[in-house]
């Protein structure tokens, strides 16, 4: 399997094709494309046979690691199993082949599903109203912050231009704040890995619009003083934004709405089991408290008797953040997942996710530095700083070695507040045997780092390619096969 992969343009041969199209049954148009608009040189798309095409992409697929292949403990990514029945249901023609502008009477099933999903997500998060429009988590963040800004402006508080973000936050938080026209203030973490409440107080002013928090935070730790934080923000006239990346730990345990959050975004592709697709499509609905509902993107779905329609008459709405209604087919999968799990099942999800994470931490704690030694929630962060100092082996080296053991690496070098960080999220769909095997591998690597550091530094060895030269890739970018030919 190690033979080099040819790219489609290298497989191409004039005259081959992988499609069959109908012969034209209409006369050629007498109106020709004006010469100045007509394409002069054909787009050099590859010419391959259907069998070439399938073998090519099948071969490519075999170069990927995936949840269907094995344990994928990427922190804050919630790589849980993606149920197959949901894939099947998402492909029902009555969901897959709907035109977004077809009359509402021809799409009542779709609208009912979206309305039902909205209601269930409100219940799960403790929010009053919700939009399904944002296409991904970061898109939801941006949308939620725009809603906050619109609401504050509506109140006449235009000078509230600052958003507080923890130093442990994901990069999308500050980037989304910029997209929504906010300035970012960074609040530090305390010695327990939580928001430093004293530092937070010192940041408060009448220019603060609110705070963005992930809870459990990116260290996998619950913000124990969340109610106090909420009071500080609300008393100062600000609003609380909940980043739903880590909602898996809270299902049926504690709702963001009850903690004092005013806006919540969810990642259906994390918590609600829809596949990541190698980087998308996701879906990032946002839920809000009643006061903010008028500012949500339009349209909103309303139910009248037994029928559903889109309501565009929303004078205070921020407008639209993407075309149409969002990633509908992702919603179908999330809806199916919630219906499968039910109330009790979702609670079990959180319990097992948290139990798995604590158990796994217990199994590896001896060999690694624990920056915050306390009960974690659905994920934990350990540091490879001891191995780096004592053996010259970095976290990157160790996780590359994990690949040779057959596992996907955890998230690394994040959050930024922990040096040599490894952020491990074993979710509820992994068994104790899988956790044991992973912990044995990680402990074995810690041992190898001591005894044979070169072995670890030269990993991975078993992969289709070894470590890649990212520096040259960025210095002399080759971003298409056309650039390569130049």
């Amino acid at each position: 399997m190690k033979k080099p992969v040819k790219l489609l343009n290298e497989l191409s041969k004039p005259g081959r094709r992988a499609c069959s199209l109908p012969a034209s049954d209409v006369p050629e148009a007498s109106e020709k494309i004006p010469e100045k608009f007509a394409r002069k040189e054909d787009a050099a798309l590859p010419e391959v046979s259907e069998v070439d095409l399938i073998r090519h992409f099948t071969r490519l697929s075999q170069l990927n690691y995936a949840v269907d292949v094995g344990f994928y403990p990427l922190g804050s990514c919630t790589m849980k199993y993606n149920p197959k029945v949901n894939e099947r249901l998402s492909r029902l023609p009555g969901f897959l082949n709907l035109h977004p502008y077809q009359h509402k009477d021809l799409a009542q099933g779709a609208l009912e599903l979206m309305y039902g999903l909205k209601e269930m997500l409100c219940e799960i998060t403790g929010m009053d109203e919700l939009t399904l429009q944002p296409a991904a988590g970061a898109h939801g963040e941006m949308t939620g912050l725009m809603v906050i800004k619109a609401a504050l402006e509506h109140r006449g508080e235009k000078k509230r231009t600052k958003i507080i973000v923890p130093d442990s936050a994901h990069g999308t938080n500050p980037a989304s704040a910029t997209m929504a026209g906010f300035e970012v203030l960074v609040v530090t973490s305390d010695e327990r890995g939580n928001v430093d409440v004293e530092n937070l107080k010192s940041l408060m002013s009448d220019e603060v619009a609110g705070i963005m928090l992930t809870n459990p935070n990116t260290l996998g730790l619950f913000e124990e003083r969340i109610l106090e934080i909420a009071k500080i923000i609300h008393d100062a006239g600000g609003l609380l934004y909940y980043d739903g990346a880590n909602l898996n730990a809270n299902l049926g345990i504690a709702r963001p709405g009850d903690m004092g959050f005013d806006v919540v975004h969810l990642n259906l592709h994390k918590t609600f089991s829809t596949p990541h697709g190698g980087g998308g499509p996701g879906s990032g609905p946002i839920g809000v408290k009643e006061e903010l509902a008028p500012f949500l993107p339009k349209p909103v779905i309303v139910k009248e008797g037994n029928s559903y329609r889109f309501d565009y008459d929303r004078p205070l709405s921020i407008g639209k953040v993407r075309s149409f209604y969002g990633n509908f087919n992702v919603m179908v999968r999330a809806y199916a997942y919630i219906m499968t799990m039910g109330s009790e099942g979702l609670r079990r999800v959180a319990e097992d996710a948290v139990l798995n994470a604590n158990y796994l931490l217990e199994r590896v704690r001896e060999n690694f530095v624990l920056p915050f030694d306390r009960r974690c929630k659905h994920e934990f962060v350990i540091s490879g700083s001891r191995q780096k100092k004592e053996n010259g082996v970095t976290t990157l080296d160790m996780v590359k070695r994990l690949i040779d053991y057959g596992f996907h690496p955890p998230t690394v070098y994040f959050p930024l507040v922990v040096p040599e960080a490894m952020m491990v999220e074993p979710n509820e769909t992994e068994s104790i045997e899988e956790l044991d095997a992973f912990s044995e591998a990680l402990n074995a690597i810690a041992e190898e780092a001591r005894k044979d550091p070169e072995l670890v530094k030269n990993s991975p060895k078993t992969t289709p390619v070894t470590r890649l030269d990212e520096v040259t890739a960025a210095k002399r970018p080759v971003v298409t096969w056309i650039t390569e030919e130049e």
Binding site: A38, L92, H139, A254, G279, S323, V330, V465
Partner: protein, 447 residues
């Protein structure tokens, strides 16, 4: 539910024991009591797999899908044929259950396919670089507007009124909180009004945003627009239909600085408006100003070719609030569908699809013109065109629906100045028989 939860009661007890706690509740002790829940209240379910399939099948059957009616509706989402190879490829768990390719050694499948996607999008658009996908055509255009503002250090964009109304609405929302002004440029005979453009175009303008073929179906004169924009130091951003680019000169060859678009037509089912993918391609000069993920070619330690996410210093996980955009998760699997589609059609096939659309759209228009409809604009079009109907579109479409046709887009809300304006889309899937019957029903049998 338990089929997704492998741990047994015995496993749980063993784990709790290892942790020295007696119940799972103990793991949540650090959560304030006031907010602790006993479980989510009031959700339906749980359903077994068979019950679930019945329930969702019943819901799906309350919709009328494109296999049950004959679609002449477009306005951004089109009923193109999707070959079986597309779903065969993206149904592979190795593709759809993978995460973003942060570990390149075990993600060469996703990375290589994205590199091929980028190459084919650049072939089609005539541009130097594209990212690995955006959310959709609308947000891609909005991000392009920000790119232009960043590069030109100007804070005003001009958007043609012939750009998709929803795209313009997204641009207004994106720019509203960032002190970027959006001014609309009117249209004349279905294309951007050059006089209006000239009067609004000055050295405060970062970019002119146009769509071609535009929302009303007409092909814009991209070359002239590019020259006008460049004269004032502004950029030209073109939102294009990727299928049309098999026959139309790519905007990159006509002077466009950024080309965006909705990729749905490339192998993605209509799916009630999403998920699909947006594309954003640009000139070499803009390489380091791009939003989103870009895949680049490099070599491994043994000198073998490989692919990685590159130029990441632009992105949010490195640059945080100074990033070119906040986009993280994109629409990778939909872009993969686009890549498989483009490879499946290939150089000749995509031209054939485009030619079929072109001929059938023109045939359809002729049939309708014979039946009392008037062509609203004289300019050349590709697969979609605007007519003035002899009656309000709402009644026309209602009548067509009774005969099993999804009629064209009703322009009365967005373009009330076009009396009984009707935007009809015709793809390669429409047969002569369907078209003849459609024209007959649209034109005749008035009571």
């Amino acid at each position: 539910m338990s089929s997704y939860l492998p741990n047994t009661e015995a496993d749980r007890r063993k784990m709790l024991e290892a942790l020295g706690v007696s119940s799972v509740e103990d793991l949540f002790e650090d959560i304030p009591k006031e907010v602790r829940q006993k479980g989510v209240g009031g959700l339906p379910g749980p359903l077994s797999e068979d019950e679930l399939v019945r329930h969702l099948t019943a819901l799906s059957e309350r919709n009328c899908h494109l296999g049950q009616c004959v679609c002449f509706l477009g306005a951004g989402i089109y009923d193109h044929f999707v070959p079986s190879v597309v779903d065969a490829v993206v149904s592979r768990g190795e593709f759809y259950t993978a995460y973003t390719p942060y570990q390149p050694e075990i993600s060469q499948g996703t990375l290589t396919a994205a590199f091929e996607y980028q190459s084919m999008i650049c072939e089609l658009t005539g541009m130097y670089v594209t990212n690995a996908s955006m959310y959709d055509g609308a947000s891609a255009l909005a991000e392009a507007a920000f790119m232009a503002c960043g590069v030109t250090k100007r804070d005003k964009v001009l958007a043609a009124k012939t750009v998709h109304p929803e795209y313009r609405e997204v641009i207004r929302t994106y720019t509203r909180f960032r002190d970027v002004t959006v001014e609309e440029v009117g249209y004349k005979d279905g294309v951007l009004d050059l006089e209006d453009l000239a009067s609004k175009l000055d050295d405060s303008v970062a970019a002119v945003l146009v769509q071609s073929p535009n929302f009303l179906g007409v092909i814009e004169d991209v070359k002239t627009l590019a020259e006008m924009a460049h004269d004032k130091g502004a950029m030209l951003v073109v939102s294009a239909d990727p299928i049309s680019l098999a026959l139309l000169e790519p905007p990159g060859k006509l002077g466009a600085d950024i080309v965006t678009g909705e990729g749905q037509a490339l192998g993605n089912p209509a799916s009630f408006g999403g998920p699909h993918f947006g594309f954003l391609a640009a000139t070499k000069k803009l390489l380091r100003k791009m939003p989103g993920r870009i895949v680049g070619q490099t070599t491994d330690l043994e000198g073998r070719r490989g692919f990685v996410l590159t130029l990441q210093a632009r992105e949010q996980h490195i640059r945080r609030e100074k990033a070119t955009s906040n986009i993280c998760t994109n629409q990778a699997l939909c872009a993969l569908m686009g890549a498989v589609y483009m490879a499946s059609m290939g150089k000749e096939g995509l031209k054939d699809v485009a030619k079929l659309c072109y001929d059938k759209a023109h045939y359809t228009m002729e049939r309708l013109l014979e039946r009392g409809f008037e062509r609203a604009f004289g300019g050349p079009f590709f697969k979609e065109f605007t007519l003035r109907a002899p009656e309000p579109v709402e009644t026309l479409n209602a009548r067509l629906l009774r005969e099993g046709f999804l009629g064209g887009y009703d322009l009365s809300r967005d373009y009330p100045e076009i009396e009984n304006g009707w935007l009809v889309a015709v793809t390669e899937r429409r047969t002569r028989r369907e078209i003849d019957r459609f024209a007959e029903m649209a034109g005749g049998e008035k009571k």
